[in-house]
Symmetry: C2
Subunit: 230 residues, 2 copies
DNA sequence: CGAACAATTGATCCTCATCAAACCTTGTGG
DNA sequence: CCACAAGGTTTGATGAGGATCAATTGTTCG
């Protein structure tokens, strides 16, 4: 239908897929469009589908019993999500996926992915590679959270976001996130994020606006993220 | 040599391996014995080998530039470690592996594992399954660290350890860890761990000794770990 | 224009980290 | 076999870093 199967090659896990495989996958997929704030799936739901985001933006988050959230990952176009559950038969999603803008994604039955993997070694292998990057990133963030001060964690979060979804502008890199989002990504509160950004703005490192941060001096932010002193 | 290849089937990733595969692997492996406190590898080293712990106990940890450590995982017998690096060609170890007791491990060239995976789909698949559990656990611990208070994090750490390496005793589950170890596992300091354990001992939940904690009332610890109130 | 939502800022408080000192436990060597 | 050294543990005192609460000020959009 509207989607050319070959587009799927932009998904890192399908990089080595044959055209035929891509066609097969797209034939087994359904499109799901969702509005900002709505959910693709909730933590604990049975993981019947995995998704590929085609347009928009989403986030993966975990909620604790008291309702506090952490943001595990931000998903941009052509990224896969919900694949963890796809690997193990019985599984449920370990996180909740919420759209940050109106988004559409391709949903493919997890069973089908498992089926494919049995005869396509490249698939398991590439998916595994992707998972190693997730593990490494989570390990790093875990260490950060355990050992680094807030200011530095916020700096790191900004830099990660800049690398993944920053849009280059005249005189800076623009990021579209609320203070709350940033707080959930760096393990703090929106108040602290606000204070830190205000201070940085005074120093000319960033420019802060509503649902928007422009990194004016990336080097300066890197310095905060890396500096050896406490 | 001294090791019967079939022993390797205790390694979760080799569960579905044929006897021949196990023999091949063991032929490509060398044994490395290491004393308490010594290292199998350091974060940043080129990941030439992956390991299977045969005896003893080890821990995987990350260190930040200032030298503070976090404990990512405790490795007990027949667990694989250092496999993350094995997946991607060029890779370096993302963590440091240190022996907590005199230990011996089987070391297998990463190249060889990659080679095997090309023709053994079950291998990639099982390794991937294992990785999904790591991701899930790290995600959970990350959320805990971001949202829960110290006391609860320590309770969780104890319960995780009890499940993985606790030895059942008359009237409790024994764990052999220093306060420092527990602190690195729950993202706090040895002082806080000591205080919390002392308090729990007063309440009869645990019995604390030198490099030793006995969980006397597991249910009580679970209550602390789960209780909804802050 | 007004409602809804995001952000800022100040005041306050609480949890833990930090530092210091003393205490235990274990193993070792004289 | 005792004494001592080394390393693990406890406990108190102190303070800093952020969380929390409350009130106000933008900003956006229907």
């Amino acid at each position: 239908m509207s989607l050319d199967p070959k587009e799927l090659r932009q998904v890192s896990v399908f990089e080595h897929a044959t055209d035929d495989d891509l066609k097969l996958i797209s034939q087994h997929a359904i499109e799901r469009s969702i509005e900002e704030g709505e959910f693709f799936f909730f933590q604990g739901d049975p993981a019947e589908y995995f998704y590929v985001l085609i347009s928009g933006r989403a986030k993966l988050m975990q909620t604790n019993p008291a309702g506090q959230q952490v943001n595990l990952r931000t998903i941009s176009e052509w990224q896969m999500f919900g694949a963890l559950g796809a690997v193990r038969e019985d599984a449920t999603y370990p996180a909740t996926a919420q759209a940050m803008e109106n988004s559409t994604a391709l949903a493919v039955k997890s069973d089908y992915l498992r089926e494919l993997m049995k005869t396509r070694p490249y698939l398991s292998f590439d998916l595994m590679k992707l998972m190693t990057t997730y593990i490494q990133e989570m390990q790093e963030r875990y260490r950060e959270l355990a050992t680094e001060k807030v200011e530095r964690r916020i700096a790191r979060a900004l830099l990660r976001l800049a690398a993944q979804m920053g849009t280059r502008m005249d005189g800076g890199i623009e990021l579209a996130f609320t203070r709350q989002d940033l707080a959930e990504m760096s393990g703090t509160t929106l108040y602290t994020v606000s204070r830190v950004l205000s201070e940085w703005e005074r120093q000319g490192l960033v420019e802060a606006g509503r649902e928007r941060v422009v990194i004016r001096n990336p080097h300066g932010v890197v310095r905060i993220a890396e500096e050896l002193n406490s």
